[in-house]
């Protein structure tokens, strides 16, 4: 646990509230054609979970914790990398059709 940034109690609630509004605002004004790429893009963003999994694995003290931590990093890495590639491919098509216009 990172001692320089303790997030507890009301500070945690404030962060939660502000972040929730941010997400709502980002999606709220989006044209329907971008819904699938954005869903895929947000799917990529929660791939940040891999960072937590790395922390859990580095701090694992028993074989059980190491095994679960290993699986966690594996899955999280798949989420991040797969989410990136799929979103990038989807959005690339918008770019190429722009050029042809």
């Amino acid at each position: 646990m990172d001692a320089t940034t303790a997030i507890t109690g009301f500070v945690a609630l404030y962060i939660f509230m502000l972040a929730a509004f941010t997400g709502y605002e980002i999606i709220g004004r989006v044209p329907a054609i971008l819904h699938t790429p954005l869903m895929s893009g947000s799917n990529f963003v929660h791939g940040i979970v891999v960072v937590g999994a790395i922390w859990a694995l580095l701090n694992a003290a028993t074989p059980l914790e190491q095994t679960i931590g290993f699986i966690g990093v594996l899955l999280g890495a798949g989420n991040a990398a797969g989410g990136y590639v799929v979103t990038d491919r989807m959005l690339d098509m918008f770019k190429s059709s722009d050029r042809q216009d």
């Binding site: 997030i7 962060i15 699938t36 694992a60 989807m90």
Partner: protein, 472 residues
């Protein structure tokens, strides 16, 4: 110093995530948006390895092994996902999104498991334990649920598993998971109830499976979006457990954005989210009993020629077009019509393809310009003014039963008014029913003609028919 570096890296990463998502919200800046967010991820992951400088005393003797394990897991995960993501066909994107999402949920559940089994969460008190448990539950449900959704969309699981009192069983499972969680909380102050934690996760995983199996294929996009929001929330909760602000903010942003997106998708299909999850889609009478008349078929060339001599044609593309990979041939045909002076427009139903916006992606792949692609609201009035409507591989989204037949399971869903066009040509592989299993009245209408065949082959025949006219 190391702690400062980690905190600064996470701050930059979080900033890049939000800025990247913001850029993704406009078609012009979207392609750069994912790259911006991608750099955020690279920075965050690199910083995460700095955690090695400050590990728990109990783990310090395993540090070398753990560091190596982390690198190996990261390498395998990235390599596999990168390859599979590059290889998948555009039509297969939705199920890959489901699969990657499930992996994220699984990673969140894994973090919860490590923190609970190690007794670390319990050590930090009641609130942290509750957050770890809730995040673990949501993450595990998202994992098993997404895998079922992937299997269904990928055609690996075709059966829609339903049994009586299913909602009662699901409620029971949720109660059971809550009970195990409570047990972990109570015992948690004094020790680590390994069996209780294991049973808790098993109950959550089974719940995810049973929640998803009864849901019909047509509703699957809504479910994937819902699980995407679930994973976001799970990541945020585990972020609180680990005191990781990047996970908290990124997870919460995705949680709320995903929830809103889920409601938008459900609204496009005129279904409520609870209706999707607890529905009986396809179970009731399909409401087809009263259809009169018969289907009339016509050759592809005849259909093409009558469109060639029209002045306004509206094309309704569906998933069948994408499966046949016919969008390029279709555009070739459209260009021939346009050369003749025919006004051509595309009408996209909000759930055409398998997800909102999916069809736009597929048409963009073929290079079809934006300005002739229209949403349902923009174009629905124009069907009455058009000479012909060409429906390719779409079915439920043009079924007039949604407007008129209250007993139909798709009643109330907004549809494209193809039946208002002078005449309609429907390109279809065979006489089967649509994704929802409902018979389509449109196909039996007097001014509808069916063109049977694979969409790609039909388009080639249409192009040839029109070209031979041009040469004559």
């Amino acid at each position: 110093m190391v702690n400062f570096l980690i905190a600064a890296a996470f701050f930059v990463a979080t900033l890049l995530f939000i800025y990247g998502l913001k850029r993704m919200a406009s078609p012009v800046t979207a392609p750069s948006g994912i790259r911006v967010a991608g750099w955020g991820m690279v920075i965050a992951v690199a910083a995460a390895f700095l955690y090695a400088f400050d590990v728990r005393p109990a783990a310090s003797e395993h540090l070398g092994t753990n560091f190596l394990l982390a690198l190996v897991a990261l390498g395998i995960g990235v390599a596999w996902a990168w390859r599979s993501g590059k290889r998948v066909e555009m039509t297969g994107m939705p199920q890959m999104v489901a699969l990657y999402n499930g992996m994220g949920g699984g990673a969140a559940a894994a973090i919860a498991a490590v923190e609970l089994y190690s007794g670390n969460a319990q050590h930090y008190g009641f609130v942290v334990t509750v957050l770890a448990l809730v995040g673990g539950l949501i993450g595990a449900v998202a994992l098993s649920g997404s895998v079922v959704a992937w299997a269904k969309l990928d055609g690996r699981l075709n059966r829609t598993l339903r049994f009586s009192a299913q909602q009662l069983v699901n409620g029971g499972l949720l109660a059971l998971a809550a009970l195990f969680a409570l047990y972990v909380l109570i015992v948690g102050a004094g020790g680590v109830p390994t069996t209780g934690i294991t049973l808790f996760f098993i109950a959550a995983l089974v719940l995810g499976v049973l929640l998803t199996t009864p849901i019909g294929g047509a509703d699957m996009p809504v479910v994937i979006s819902l699980y995407n929001a679930f994973t976001g929330l799970a990541v945020a909760f585990e972020g609180f457990v680990l005191q990781n602000p990047a996970m908290i903010i990124a997870g919460t942003v995705v949680g709320s954005a995903g929830t809103l997106l889920t409601f938008l998708m459900a609204k496009a299909m005129n279904r409520s989210v609870s209706n999707v999850i607890f529905s009986n889609f396809g179970e009731e009478d399909d409401g087809s009993g009263g259809i009169e008349g018969s289907m009339k078929s016509v050759d592809a060339s005849d259909a093409a020629i009558s469109m060639y001599y029209g002045s306004k044609v509206i094309i309704v593309p569906g998933y069948g077009l994408a499966v046949a990979q016919a969008q390029h041939k279709l555009y070739e045909f459209v260009k021939l019509l346009q050369k003749q002076g025919v006004e051509v427009a595309f009408a996209i139903h909000p759930v055409a393809g398998r997800m909102p916006g999916h069809m736009n992606v597929l048409l963009a792949e073929a290079g079809i310009p934006y300005d002739i692609i229209h949403d349902l609201e923009d174009i629905n009035e124009e069907f009455a003014l058009s000479d012909a409507a060409l429906v390719i591989g779409a079915n439920d989204v043009v079924n007039p039963a949604a407007r008129s037949n209250e007993s139909s399971p798709i009643y109330g869903m907004p549809i494209l008014n193809v039946d208002h066009a002078q005449q309609a040509f429907v390109v279809k592989r065979g006489q089967g029913r649509g994704y929802s299993g409902v018979e389509n009245e449109l196909f039996f209408a007097d001014n509808t003609h069916m063109v049977y065949g694979d969409a790609q082959k039909v388009m080639v025949e249409m192009i040839e028919a029109v070209k031979s006219l041009g040469n004559a």
